[in-house]
């Protein structure tokens, strides 16, 4: 039970029959979705469709009512080893406002037992362009700066599965270009990426697939090269552009 699933495609997200209700209201209703290693899947859907709930379940932050979740070669039931494979960026930064960037990232690096934590923290902060602000408390950061640091946090332990919930929120055009470029670099056979986006148009140039979440299920899941095959999805994407 505690061993990693022995599969050549272990760096993937697989969700089977996932259901979740809030206050007796179904949000996810028997949802199935697979994102293979090397894929970058954009999860689209209206507000309240359940995109965030799906990501939070895969990140092991929310317990599903039913269904199975596999990610990075482990199941949710594996606990710690499962979570080690996950990089998650949510709506909030998850930082302690009174600590600075170095202290916050070092805290996470130690929780992940990263051997070279000091080097990784320095490199991560440098990579997101916050070196000049690294010793300032996070409460003094703008929304965009906090988002950049949150991106650094989610990538700090080099996860096999990356879950990003509206990652472009608060980013200025330069930071958004940086994230595009970083996501291109991160697309690799040993990594599966799932991004929830309300307005996905900007992501289509770097994505491999689009999954449309509607009424608690994946209504459509297509490679970006075949989006034209589904007029309803194409129309939805145009609407949200």
């Amino acid at each position: 039970m505690k061993n990693k699933i022995d599969s050549p495609a272990s760096a993937r997200i697989e969700v089977r029959g996932l259901s979740k209700r809030y206050h007796y209201q179904p949000v996810l209703d028997g949802l199935d979705l697979t994102v293979n290693g090397g894929e970058l899947c954009v999860l689209v859907g209206a507000n309240g469709a359940g995109k965030t709930t799906l990501l939070r379940i895969v990140a092991s932050l929310v317990r599903p009512d039913a269904g199975e979740v596999f990610a990075g070669g482990y199941t949710l039931a594996h606990g710690g080893p499962y979570r080690r494979q996950i990089g998650y960026l949510g709506h909030q930064s998850l930082f302690y406002s009174d600590l600075n960037a170095v202290e916050n990232l070092t805290h996470y690096a130690r929780l992940y037992h990263l051997a070279d934590s000091a080097d990784r923290v320095t490199q991560s902060i440098q990579l997101v362009g916050l070196s000049a602000h690294r010793t300032k408390p996070v409460r003094t950061y703008s929304r965009g700066m906090q988002q950049r640091l949150a991106i650094a946090r989610s990538l700090l332990h080099d996860p096999e599965v990356l879950l990003l919930d509206e990652p472009y929120t608060g980013l200025d055009p330069e930071a958004a270009r940086f994230l595009d470029e970083r996501l291109r670099q991160l697309r690799a056979p040993n990594r599966a990426i799932l991004i929830a986006a309300h307005r996905p148009q900007g992501l289509l140039s770097i994505a491999s697939h689009v999954a449309w979440l509607r009424e608690g299920r994946i209504a459509q899941h297509l490679p970006v090269t075949r989006l034209g095959e589904d007029p309803a999805l194409s129309a939805y994407l145009k609407e949200t552009a």
Partner: protein
């Protein structure tokens, strides 16, 4: 790194982070301290205690001050993790989630013990009674250990509610009643000069509460925190 070392390292990291945030922000300990001292001053002036009554009442007043100050600290501990959803960051970490409970219990305990360290000499001064006794230190350690472990568990329960500031004391005070009764009785005995051996039933009750609440945290903390 073996499993136990990883676990202890996670406990230490959560504890270390809480101390670091407190050192940077200074939003928890000073408030706890000021509040506890205010209770001492207010009761001193309001009750105008006569020396004969003091031994009996001082124990009660000491624990009222410590309990209120601890609750303030626990609320701060909860709001700290609620800010920017930092709790999610802890839950995402590849560590057994009970390590978060032990780390936070430890930091909450250290804060309340620091308050007690200031409070005991002040009580001695105001109520003309020596509270700086090894037996009383033991009771404070056991009583605060049980109170903060229960409080940390209940704080986790209240963290995802909108009324968390109110919910925590409402849940905590009734459930902590056995701890407070045992702590007050043991403290009263020590201040009256009763040998520790004669107070063992109260001390055993406090020790049992520590074991019970820590075990409850170990078993239920993860379930409590999951949405």
């Amino acid at each position: 790194m073996n499993g136990l070392r990883r676990y202890l390292s996670a406990v230490w990291q959560v504890f270390r982070k809480d101390i670091q945030v407190e050192v940077r922000g200074r939003q928890g300990l000073p408030v706890m301290l000021v509040f506890a001292l205010l209770v001492v001053f207010l009761f001193n002036f309001a009750l105008q205690l006569s020396p004969g009554l003091q031994a009996g009442l001082t124990a009660g007043l000491l624990w009222v001050s410590l309990a209120f100050a601890s609750t303030l600290g626990l609320n701060r501990s909860v709001s700290l993790e609620g800010e920017n959803n930092a709790l999610d960051g802890l839950l995402l970490a590849p560590v057994d989630r009970s390590a978060i409970f032990f780390g936070k219990t430890l930091s909450n305990l250290v804060f309340t013990l620091l308050v007690a360290l200031v409070l005991l000499p002040v009580f001695s001064l105001f109520y003309d009674l020596n509270l700086l006794r090894p037996g009383l230190f033991l009771v404070v350690l056991l009583g605060q250990g049980a109170y903060t472990s229960l409080g940390t568990l209940l704080a986790a329960l209240s963290i995802q509610t909108r009324t968390r500031d109110v919910l925590l004391p409402v849940l905590l005070y009734p459930l902590a009643l056995p701890v407070l009764i045992a702590a007050v009785e043991a403290s009263r005995g020590i201040l009256a000069g009763t040998p520790l051996g004669d107070l063992r039933s109260w001390l055993f009750l406090l020790a049992a509460c520590n074991v019970l609440f820590l075990a409850a945290g170990l078993m239920f903390f993860e379930t409590i925190l999951e949405e």
